[in-house]
Symmetry: C2
Subunit: 357 residues, 2 copies
């Protein structure tokens, strides 16, 4: 199939540092190429991909040092370019929330839109009611809850290339790991409380965003005094495998409806089980007792730390390969693409913007 992938332009695809959506689109794009499809990635010139790249900006927006830039303008230009070339593709796969809705009404039937964010925002229901023609994909079933009425075409879990992280059946460290943003929803304070209560060392690898500085200084920093707790700052992709692979478990004590939680499957790819709060997508990612434990309180989390010996780390990796590889993700999307193409086999002639006026 001829497939267009349209990620946001905020980070590179894949991101140089932090960034979830563009990373998943990079993995999906390469996996679709590996499955034999003809894939075009609309992105920035600094993208790394095995697909054909259409570069619509010199570099990703967030790390562009020029302060005089417009995220909205950059995305609208990209979308207009996608529209101009729309009849080169059988399927257009969008990852830019709802920004493309006004531009592709004439061919909504052969689009797929994956929603990557939380959906419990006040202004969203109205938009999804006004543009019901776009088939949507959720990244967990739970993510759909606030927009149950919307036009859902399927749920596809995120996946990672199987060779991205090697399994670590015998971890070298004796510590719990926390990896993510230093923010109130991620609850690093809970991770620290669990470590202290279970007497197990905790290593925290976390980015402190400008918006989270006050939270970090007021809430988290005072808790870092214990000799059991070590804060190692932000880590890059290369350091991730060692950090996660050598941990006894990843703590994921979130306090918000996380739509997926990429770090959980990153840990699992290393064979590392996950102790996660019963919240958001967690029950769909963690098989309780198999690749981690689902808990509802700090006491339960401490219990789970004590039961880590019952988890077979080879099994954790096996579940990852079966459910969360990029290949599985790509196959699931291809199923959806094919169903789309059967629904709308004829490609409508494409009215160019300047011909329509």
């Amino acid at each position: 199939m001829r497939i267009a992938q349209i990620p946001p332009l905020c980070e590179s695809t894949p991101p140089r540092l932090y960034g979830g959506t563009e990373r998943i689109v990079a993995y999906l794009t390469d996996a679709l190429v590996d499955l034999g499809h003809e894939v075009t990635l609309f992105s920035t010139a600094d993208a790394r991909t095995r697909a054909r790249l259409v570069a619509v900006r010199d570099q990703a927006i967030r790390l562009d040092p020029n302060p005089l830039k417009s995220e909205l303008a950059a995305h609208l230009s990209m979308l207009q370019e996608v529209r101009r070339r729309a009849d080169e593709f059988d399927v257009l796969h969008f990852h830019v929330d709802m920004l493309h809705f006004p531009l592709f009404e004439d061919c909504a039937g052969r689009t797929i839109t994956t929603l990557h964010g939380r959906l419990d925002l006040k202004d969203l229901p109205e938009v999804y009611r006004r543009w019901p023609q776009y088939p949507l994909v959720s990244i967990s079933h739970q993510q759909r809850e606030p927009l149950r009425f919307a036009h859902w075409a399927g749920t596809v879990a995120h996946g990672l290339p199987a060779d991205l992280y090697r399994p670590h059946p015998r971890p070298k460290g004796h510590y719990l790991a926390f990896l993510g943003r230093m923010s109130p929803e991620k609850r690093p304070d809970r991770a620290i409380a669990i470590a202290l209560a279970s007497g197990m060392p905790l290593k925290i690898a976390a980015k402190v965003d400008v918006a989270d500085r006050a939270y970090f200084h007021e809430v988290v920093r005072p808790l870092l005094d214990s000799p059991l707790v070590e804060f190692i700052g932000e880590i890059d992709d290369g350091a991730k495998e060692t950090f996660l692979g050598n941990a006894a478990a990843l703590l994921f004590p979130i306090d918000w409806p996380e739509p997926f939680g990429l770090v959980m499957i990153e840990a699992m790819a290393c064979g590392t089980p996950v102790i996660a709060w019963n919240c958001g997508s967690v029950p769909e990612v963690v098989d309780d007792g198999v690749n981690g434990f689902i808990v509802d309180s700090e006491a339960e989390a401490v219990q789970a730390v004590r039961r880590l010996g019952t988890i077979d780390r080879r099994q954790v990796r096996a579940v990852f390969e079966r459910r969360f590889s990029a290949e599985i993700m790509a196959s699931n999307y291809v199923d959806l693409y094919e169903r789309r193409c059967r629904v709308a086999p004829a490609l409508p002639a494409w009215p160019l913007a300047y011909e329509a006026g």
Copy 2:
């Protein structure tokens, strides 16, 4: 004429506190009603207007205490509602930058888009090249510089209702005034330097945004020690007339290409002259020696303070009434609307979104 006004939804129209674009749209809308036109304002339910109001959200976004909201979604919903009703209007007047471009391609000829912001952003030229069919209005000639090639239909200066501020021919205070955001581009530090060098008291009424707190604490606060300088915080609309009207002059020592500079005409409405840097729209708003002075350096600004006695404050007000009243602004826009309607007299039948698929 049947005119639709489409302001942003970030602030109320007019804003309850800070906010430029929505304030101007409020003045324009009421002035068009006064000129006998049939005007519809698309805005939030807390708008105050003499036009027909179509409320598309319960309240303006920025001051909505709900943190789970989406500016983009709210604006897209509004624009889709405008499109649904587009054939109720002769002219659609947009104030939302370029967000409406994908939705109104079929009737771009009977739209007018006023650009309210700075245009020297990296991503803008591409958008205005891709959607050349929209006639644009600048709020100063200088504002156009970075996008000279774009489809400019005219320049219309901002205006205020003539009765909003009374002229103060004999000001009660003996001070210079600074009014605006406490930000590096507005250069409150320059205002302080001018006051100290000319030995004249300075009153600063300024909002300190979260983004500008570091600048305020590091650069401005240390300069506030002098007995000549008084910082009175943020002031509301009611206090503005007294603050501006009793000043000997407004200092406007900006260091960025300000596209208009509303506070200059607010001062002039009170009869207060403006000492302004030769930058952005300033040469188009200040008639040097008539309603203020245009300067290129602090030394020239100090000279200008000494020459304030040569300005006739009645004349300052007279120029305001002649050039910067809301009525003048509305008449100028009506000219543009009428020219549009002559160009595109027949209204195209409107394809509804769900019929187009």
